[in-house]
């Protein structure tokens, strides 16, 4: 049990190494749009500015809904990354790796598990940016959605991956890509 708790702790530390950025981002999203580089980035890269202009609208008046969408979406993504990485870190201690050479077999399990995690990330992003649940999703351009999809998926995958690398049980490290490169007594 103690080892599992330690793994979870390391996992949380791993999560925080990149996750702090997400928390700052989420906070700024819920604070609301301010006239800064973030708003400019949204306006220049993510939204259908031509269409907004055609409708006589100004992005700054529409940005609030978009910010709430992005903030909520990132909460979901962060929570998913946290749950999946902590779950793996905890469950890795229960994998039946009881003899030499068995850890590698579980790399298939890890790949499938990670694949599912990635699929959930993508599904969350699609849900927020393409479904009708959030009206502000209409303002995203195709290119903007692609930018969000790739950047968010990669970012949260990294959060998840770092947490998993440092949180996986030592004997299961061979099942996680590159985790076996860690020194033997590390964490």
């Amino acid at each position: 049990m103690l080892r599992i708790f330690k793994s979870l702790t390391y996992s949380i530390i791993g999560l925080m190494s990149l996750g702090w950025l997400s928390i700052i981002f989420i906070t700024s999203m819920f604070v609301g749009p301010k006239d800064n580089w973030l708003l400019d980035f949204f306006a220049n890269n993510l939204i259908i500015d031509e269409v907004i202009e055609k409708y006589g609208q100004d992005f700054s008046s529409l940005a609030e809904g978009l910010y709430i969408l992005m903030g909520t979406m990132n909460i979901f993504l962060l929570v998913t990354a946290i749950i999946f990485s902590l779950a793996w870190s905890g469950l890795s201690h229960l994998l039946n790796i009881d003899s030499p050479g068995k850890a590698k077999i579980y790399s298939i399990h890890w790949l499938i598990y990670t694949g599912i995690t990635l699929a959930i990330f993508v599904a969350i992003i699609f849900y927020f940016t393409k479904s009708t649940q959030y009206n502000a999703a209409q303002f995203f351009s195709g290119g903007g959605i692609r930018i969000i999809l790739f950047s968010q998926t990669i970012y949260y995958f990294l959060i998840y991956y770092i947490a998993v690398i440092v949180g996986t049980a030592r004997f299961a490290r061979s099942s996680v890509l590159f985790a076996n490169k860690l020194p033997g007594n590390f964490l």
Binding site: E50, V51, Y55, G56, Q57, G65, T132, N135, Q138
Partner: protein, 480 residues
């Protein structure tokens, strides 16, 4: 007693609250952007009696007309009967009737002479054959008489057998000039065509190589009554003739109205537009409400999802003069506002209506191109060109969660030319004439009839001004 007073007070308060809430809601719901309504340019032309003016009846005295009055094998001779009735008809529409005869010239004739228009001698001048003006049909001269009195009604009885030379160059100009004036004065030209029995000779049929020929073997050919004047009088004459002789019109009767304005009314003025013009009663969206605002602007308020097609229909008989050439093109002038806020309070306080910078928004279509009795369908927002993406439903180009205000003004932009088609099968051109007579026809056609109608249409169309048919406003919230 005290309890009774309290009860009364409570009931009064309840009633007041309910009423207030209704009015509050009523006033609360309306929050439209600022705009100016387009002014309608056409009023309803009531087909009712107005002040009477003189009527001039002109008879074509050319020899070709004689065949209409020669006795024939036919039981009924409409020409004779119509001519007989014309006097009466003229008296009903005018306060005085003047008669004239035209050929190369126009000459006044007396009533008794006019009565002889049903006799062959009217066309042969037996007493003075040398001075008989029966060699030509100078329609331009007849039409020139319309300058006598611009308020009068002119009824021209003729076979409209116009030679080519009278439809080109100076003669054409001479034909057009008085027509221009007629149409400029807001008058119209009605042409009633009647297929009649014929027993006589048709003169002036052009043949190849120049020259003219005659033809005597026809036992049927049409004659025409051209009515120049107010639409209401044209309508009266036409109606009387129809009622009298053409309840079952078939192929023996044709009518066409040539006018510079085929639109009879603006639908807003008399509030002819209702909820069904946009939504059938079984297909109304949620929270649908219809009312007139700004005294004559119909406002449709509703919530809808993106999967709805918004189609506004106008019945053509409500806007087009019967028998006219119709309208060949409509123009839609519209403005679309959108607001990210949907509640009136917020819209009014933050002034969130934003005008869209869109050039093409809606489109129109009709079942029968140029038809007079079908419908014009306006596909609202169907042509929104915000981006290049194709959408299955037009409203998918709009943003969900937004409120929209769409002001639509529908104009008749270009008149039609359906009258040319009306008379097409009674018409023959110079080129076709020789071959036609070689076929030995029994029902003869009218030379250059379509050409003449086209000339009349061209003159009328030159004077056509885009006319506002209807204005509507849509105030809707786009839901998921």
């Amino acid at each position: 007693m005290k309890i009774k007073n309290i009860n009364n007070l409570f009931i009064n308060f309840l009633i007041f609250s309910i009423l207030f809430s209704f009015t509050y809601l009523q006033s609360k719901e309306l929050c439209i952007p600022d705009f100016e309504l387009d002014t309608p340019t056409v009023n309803v032309t009531p087909l009712i009696d107005a002040d009477k003016n003189p009527v001039y009846v002109l008879f074509d005295g050319s020899l070709s007309m004689k065949g209409f009055v020669n006795p024939s094998n036919q039981d009924t001779n409409l020409y004779v009967e119509v001519i007989d009735d014309l006097q009466q008809i003229a008296e009903t529409i005018g306060n005085e009737t003047h008669y004239l005869r035209f050929g190369r010239f126009v000459k006044s004739i007396t009533e008794s002479e006019a009565a002889r228009a049903t006799d062959p001698s009217f066309y042969t001048c037996p007493h003075n054959p040398a001075n008989c003006d029966n060699q030509e049909t100078r329609l331009d001269e007849a039409i020139k008489t319309t300058q006598l009195n611009k308020d009068a009604t002119y009824i021209i009885v003729t076979d409209l057998f116009i030679e080519n030379k009278n439809l080109i160059g100076g003669k054409l100009h001479q034909l057009k000039k008085p027509l221009n004036k007629v149409l400029d004065d807001g008058k119209s030209i009605g042409i009633v065509g009647i297929m009649n029995s014929f027993n006589g000779t048709i003169y002036g049929i052009p043949i190849s190589g120049g020259g003219v020929a005659t033809y005597s073997r026809a036992n049927k050919r049409p004659f025409y009554i051209m009515i120049i004047g107010d639409q209401k009088n044209i309508h009266k004459v036409k109606t009387k003739l129809e009622k009298q002789y053409f309840t079952n019109k078939g192929d023996e009767y044709k009518f066409s109205l040539i006018t510079s304005n085929p639109i009879i009314q603006n639908l807003n003025i008399n509030k002819k537009i209702n909820g069904n013009n946009l939504f059938k009663s079984n297909n109304q969206p949620s929270e649908f409400k219809f009312e007139y605002i700004k005294s004559k602007l119909p406002l449709y308020q509703f919530n809808t999802n993106q999967k709805r097609h918004l189609t506004f229909t106008i019945k053509k008989p409500e806007i087009l003069v019967p028998g006219s050439s119709g309208i060949s093109n409509y123009e839609i002038k519209e403005i679309l506002w959108n607001s990210s806020e949907v509640k009136c309070k917020k819209i009014n306080s933050d002034k969130t209506w934003k005008k869209a910078k869109l050039d093409t928004i809606s489109t129109w279509s009709e079942k029968i191109p140029g038809g007079l009795y079908d419908e014009v369908t306006i596909g609202l927002l169907k042509e929104l060109n915000v981006d290049s993406k194709k959408k299955k439903y037009p409203l998918q180009k709009l943003w969900r969660g937004f409120r929209y205000f769409h002001l639509v003004n529908i104009y008749a932009d270009k008149p039609g030319n359906i009258s040319e088609d009306t008379f097409k099968d009674w018409s023959i051109t110079k080129a076709q004439a020789q071959k036609f007579i070689e076929e030995d026809p029994v029902a003869f056609k009218t030379l250059n009839l379509v050409k003449l109608v086209k000339v009349l249409n061209d003159v009328a169309n030159e004077r056509f001004k885009p006319t506002l048919i209807a204005s509507i406003a849509l105030d809707f919230k786009l839901t998921k």
